[in-house]
């Protein structure tokens, strides 16, 4: 597998420079407090903290407990994806690699969206008419098509 990893990545330089502190990176990754998805006992539920599934994120709330509008989450993730594109310069999901390599920033954005889907598929959950712009929906679709395209590039004849 390690060989595959190496093959999937084109190293263009071994030079490196200092990066933001580990604490800064952790803060950027976890700006919100994650909440229950129905499978993690002992955690609070976003809806019980005032989140409206039609307007707010369900997988997390602000540190002060206030709900996060869907459009605000879209703006945050769009910034993360923009940074991810920079991180991914120098990678190349080559033909027949059989894997897709993405930056950690893009991976965390995907994980966050999967968590949101998980909560929205929780048995019994009711969501009123979505009151948000299309931005988060379009971002999720865009990420899906990006991965689909990268997968097509790296097909191994399956």
């Amino acid at each position: 597998m390690f060989v595959v990893v190496i093959a999937a990545i084109r190293f263009r330089s071994s030079a490196s420079r200092s990066t933001p502190s580990a604490a800064d990176e952790r803060l950027a990754r976890q700006p919100h407090r994650r909440v229950a998805n129905g499978t993690v006992p002992g955690m609070v539920d976003a809806a019980s903290e005032g989140a409206d599934p039609a307007r707010h994120l369900l997988r997390a709330v602000h540190p002060d407990g206030s709900p996060i509008p869907l459009d605000d989450e879209a703006a945050r993730l769009q910034q993360a994806i923009a940074a991810a594109r920079t991180d991914e310069v120098g990678t190349d999901n080559d033909w027949r690699s059989g894997v897709v390599v993405i930056s950690s920033r893009r991976a965390r954005a995907i994980a966050d969206l999967l968590d949101e889907l998980a909560v929205r598929l929780r048995p019994g959950l009711t969501v009123g008419p979505i009151q948000a712009e299309r931005s988060l929906a379009e971002l999720a679709a865009s990420l899906s098509w990006h991965l689909h395209g990268q997968r097509s590039r790296s097909m191994d004849g399956e």
Binding site: A15, L114, R120, R122, I130, A140, R151
Partner: protein, 127 residues
């Protein structure tokens, strides 16, 4: 069977060529897919191999190279992620009302498991 987003997948590929996402045929020839119908296959896919961390060097906007961390997703995992992200996109469409969700909870668990696998690999290099 009548389609309802509370009971069925919204982004499931109907039996159309080229993988286009379309509406359910009105003649009932392609019935809607229950939310949990694909969970066994999707679970087998994401458990068929690991999601590994990776790292490489990449130029920043100023042109200086720095170390970057990443994640290596096998194709089997990518297919599931694509389907689930598209499902979320459909469910966040403005004006859509859903509920109450009729599911055994297995897709909820699968999405959580997959998110955890990806996040763990993304954070593997962090102190």
């Amino acid at each position: 069977m009548t389609f309802t987003p509370a009971r069925h997948l919204m982004a499931q590929r109907w039996n159309q060529t080229f993988g286009l996402y379309g509406d359910e045929p009105e003649d009932g020839s392609d019935p809607p897919v229950p939310i949990d119908a694909h969970v066994p296959a999707w679970r087998a896919a994401i458990r068929s191999g690991p999601v590994n961390p990776s790292r490489w060097t990449s130029p920043d906007p100023a042109g200086e190279y720095r170390s970057v961390t990443g994640v290596v997703l096998p194709h089997a995992h990518v297919r599931v992620v694509c389907d689930l992200l598209h499902e979320l996109a459909k469910r966040l469409r403005p004006g859509l009302a859903v509920g109450p969700i009729e599911s055994d909870g297995s897709l909820n668990e699968l999405a959580t498991e997959l998110a955890g696998m990806i996040r763990a690999a993304a954070d593997a290099w962090e102190p």
